[in-house]
Amino acid sequence: MLFNSLDFFIFLPIVFVLYWFVLNKNLKVQNFLLLIASYVFYGWWDVRFLSLIILSTIIDYFIGIKIHESNDETKRKRWLRLSMLVNLSLLGFFKYFNFFIDSFISAFNSIGIEMDTFTLNIILPVGISFYTFQTMSYSLDINKRKLVPTKDFVAFATFVAFFPQLVAGPIERASNLLPQFLRKRKFNNKFASDGVRQILWGLFKKIVVADNCAPFVNSIFSNYTEEPSSMLILGVVIFAFQIYADFSGYTDIAIGVAKLFGFDFKKNFNFPYFSKGISEFWKRWHISLSSWLNDYLFTPLAVEFRNYKKRGIFLAVFLTFLISGLWHGAGWNFVFWGGLHGLYYIPVIFSKKRFTSISTNKGSKVKLDFSITDIPKMVLTFFMVCLTYIFFRSASLSDAFGYLKGIFTQIPTFPNTIPYELFLFIIILMATEWFQRNKEHGLQFDDTSKVRPFFRWVIYFLLIFAIFIFQEEQQEFIYFQF
C-alpha cells in the first residue's frame, strides 16, 4: 500500500493503537505485531512477494549465527558467500534477468550472430533492492565482528521487513536499527509529534510538489523530439525537483512513521541541492545507499587497488558508481548515469590531497555553511546533476542522447507553457528547506524556534489543505521501481 493512500490512512492508526495501548506490556508481542503489520503492508501489493522476503530473512538469520559462531576464517567466508549468493541471486534474477538476456542477445546480434529473443514475464518484487542490501550488510558486519547476531528471530525478521522503510528505504544498518527492536520503546510526546510533522512535510513534498511535476515532466520526456530546447531544459530541471521531492518525501514519511513507534532512523537526505560540489552532493543525497556502497564496495575496492594510488581510487569510485547505476535500474541508461557521476569525481580525486570516502553515515549531520561566493558552486553542481538526470529519466540510452542532442539542436524558442504553479511549489519547498537547512527536516520546530505555536498550527493547516487541494492523479513513488 502507498503511504499516500486511504488504505494506509486506515492501517496506520490501527497498528498505532494496538502497539501502544494493547500490546505495549510485552516487547516480544509488540515486535510480533510490527512483523505481522509489515507483512500485511508488503503483501498488500502481492502476497507472493512475501515468500522472497521470508526466505531472505530465514537464510540470513541462520547464516549470521553461523558466521559468528565459527572461529575458522575459511568457514566464516563460506557462510558469508552463501548469504551474498542468495541475496544477489534473488536480486539478479528478479531485477536483472531480462536485462542481461536482452544485452547478451543484442551483443551477439551486433556481431552478426542472430539469436532468438527469450525473456520471462518476471514481476519485480517491490523493495527487493532495499531489503537485500539491508540483510547483506547484516551478514557483512557480523563477519567483520562489528555486530553480534541476534538469536531473537522475530526481532530480526521485523528489522528486515519493518514497513516504514521496507519498500524504498532508508537502508538501515543493523547496528543502528536492530538494538531498537531489542529494547523496550517508551512513548515520547516530542518525538512522536516531530514524527507527525515529518510525515506532513513528506506528504506535502510527495503530493503537492512531486505529483504535480510528474505530468509536465512526463509530457516533455515522451515528446522530446517536438519540444523546443528551452522546454527540454525546463523539463529536466523540473524533474530534478520531482525526484528530490518524491524520494525525500517518501523518506520523510518513513522516518516520521518510525518515530510514531519510537524508532529512530538515520537521515537519508541532507538538503543535497545546496551542495557546493559533487563530493558534497553524494554525502547529502540518498545517504543510506551511498554510505552502504562506500562501506561495502568502494572501501574494499580502494584497498584492492591501493597499489595504483589515485588511479586506483578513481577506478574504485567509478566502479562503485557503475554498480550504483545498475542498482537503480536494469538499463544501460542507468549504468551511464552512474558512470557520469563517477567521472565527475576525476577533479575531486586528482586535486584533493587525500580522498577517503564517497559518503558516510555522518553525512546526515553535515551542517550547511554558506557564503555568497558559494552560489555559483551550488548552481554548477545542480546543473551537473541535472545533466545526469537526462539519462536517469529517459526510457533508454538512445532516448537520453536524443534528448541531450535536442537541447543543443532544437529551436531555442521561449517555453510555450510555463508551469507557474509548479514554480510556486518548488520555491516553497526550497525556501523552507533553506531556512531549516540545519534541522532534521523542513518542519522541525524545537523550543528555540522563532515561529510561535499559533503560526506553526497555521502552517500545518495550510500544508494539510494544500495536500488535499493540490493532489493530482496518484503517482507511484519513483524509487518503487528500484
Binding site: L6, D7, W20, F187, N189, A192, S193, V196, S219, S222, W457, Y460, F461, I464, F465, F468, I469, F470, Q471, E473, Q474
Partner: protein
C-alpha cells in the same frame, strides 16, 4: 501520550470545523440556485421525475453531450419528445446510474450515449457527480454510485468537503492571482440542453492541445467495459435502442493528433458489442463540416455547432429507423 492525543484531537476537530465551513460556503450558491429554480441539475431531475413516461429520446454523457443536442431541433424533425440528461463531468459509471434512475420514471425508445476517453479515467469531479446524484430519488442508486462507481475514493470525496470541492477551491485560488474573472458566460437552456453563442478565440485556438489519447489520458478499459456493459444490458432489458456517438471537436484541435486513438477504440469496442456508433467529426461531413467557430472553447460546441450535431443525430436515427 495524553498530550499527543490531545494535539491529534485538536487537529481533527479544527479540520472538521474548517470542512464544515467550506461545505457551507461552496454549497450555498447551489442551494440558492435550487431555491430560485435555476439550478440545472435540479431542473432536469424535476422534469424527469414529474413528467413520467414522457420522453422518447434521452441523451446521457458529460458536458459535451448537453452542449451538443438541441431537443427543439430533434423533436421537430423526429416527431419525438427528447430530453438532454448530460451533466458536467459525467463519467461512464455515473452515466449508468443516471440511466438507472431515469428508467424508474421514463420509457424512452432511444438512449444516446456520448463517449470520449475521459469518461473512464482517474480524474473525477466529485462535486459535479454528487450534485447530479443528490437529485436521485433512490438512495440505493445513490449509494451504489458512490460505492460501486468510485470505491473508497468515492466515499472519501463524498464525506470530506475539501476533497469534493478541491477543483473549485483551486479555481478560486487561481483567480485570486490572475486577472481572469471566475464568472461563467451566459448560457441558455432547453430541456436539459445548455448553449451559448460564444465563439472560440484565435488565442484559444493557438493554445489547443491534442484531444485525449492513450498517452495523455489514464483510460481505465476494464472500468469502461464494466459500466458500458451494464448500460447495454439495462437498455436491452428495457427494449431501448442504445446509440453511441462521439460529439465533435474543433477541427484545429483534432488536427493536432497524429493518430485518433479515441475514435479507433470506441469504433472497435462498440462494433464488438454490436452497438451502433457514430463519430460526429466525420459523419456526413460533406453536409456538416465543422469549423472552429462552431465551438465556444476547446471541446464544447456553441449554438451553431449544436445545430449541426443535432441534425447529424436526426440523420442517424432516421437511418436506424429504416
Amino acid at each position: 501520550m495524553k498530550s499527543f492525543l490531545k494535539k491529534t484531537g485538536i487537529l481533527i476537530i479544527v479540520f472538521t470545523i474548517l470542512n464544515i465551513i467550506l461545505n457551507y460556503v461552496y454549497e450555498l450558491p447551489a442551494k440558492k440556485a435550487i431555491k430560485n429554480k435555476i439550478h440545472k441539475n435540479s431542473l432536469k431531475w424535476n422534469d424527469i421525475h414529474k413528467n413520467q413516461n414522457t420522453y422518447d429520446l434521452i441523451t446521457i454523457g458529460a458536458s459535451r453531450a448537453y452542449r451538443s443536442f438541441n431537443p427543439n431541433i430533434l423533436d421537430s424533425k423526429l416527431n419525438l419528445n427528447s430530453y438532454n440528461m448530460g451533466t458536467s463531468a459525467q463519467d461512464i459509471a455515473e452515466s449508468y446510474y443516471t440511466l438507472k434512475e431515469i428508467l424508474k420514471y421514463q420509457k424512452p425508445k432511444f438512449v444516446i450515449l456520448d463517449l470520449f476517453l475521459p469518461s473512464s479515467d482517474d480524474k473525477h469531479d466529485f462535486y459535479q457527480i454528487y450534485s447530479n446524484a443528490s437529485f436521485f430519488s433512490s438512495n440505493k442508486t445513490k449509494y451504489n454510485l458512490i460505492i460501486d462507481g468510485y470505491g473508497a475514493t468515492g466515499v472519501a470525496n463524498y464525506c470530506i468537503p475539501i476533497l469534493k470541492f478541491k477543483n473549485y477551491i483551486k479555481k478560486d485560488i487561481n483567480s485570486f492571482f490572475s486577472n481572469r474573472s471566475n464568472s461563467k458566460p451566459e448560457t441558455n437552456w432547453i430541456k436539459g440542453f445548455s448553449y451559448d453563442t460564444i465563439t472560440v478565440t484565435q488565442k484559444e485556438i493557438s493554445n489547443f492541445y491534442p484531444i485525449s489519447n492513450f498517452e495523455n489520458t489514464s483510460f481505465k478499459k476494464e472500468r469502461f467495459n464494466e459500466f458500458f456493459n451494464k448500460i447495454k444490458q439495462i437498455t436491452l432489458d428495457n427494449n431501448i435502442k442504445l446509440i453511441c456517438v462521439r460529439t465533435p471537436y474543433p477541427p484545429s484541435r483534432l488536427a493536432l493528433n497524429k493518430i485518433d486513438d479515441e475514435n479507433a477504440f470506441f469504433r472497435n469496442f462498440t462494433k464488438k458489442s454490436n452497438i451502433p456508433y457514430y463519430d460526429l467529426n466525420t459523419f456526413e461531413n460533406h453536409k456538416y463540416k465543422y469549423i472552429d467557430s462552431d465551438f465556444s472553447d476547446y471541446h464544447h460546441p456553441n449554438y451553431k455547432g449544436a445545430q449541426k450535431a443535432s441534425w447529424q443525430l436526426i440523420e442517424i436515427i432516421n437511418k436506424l429507423r429504416k
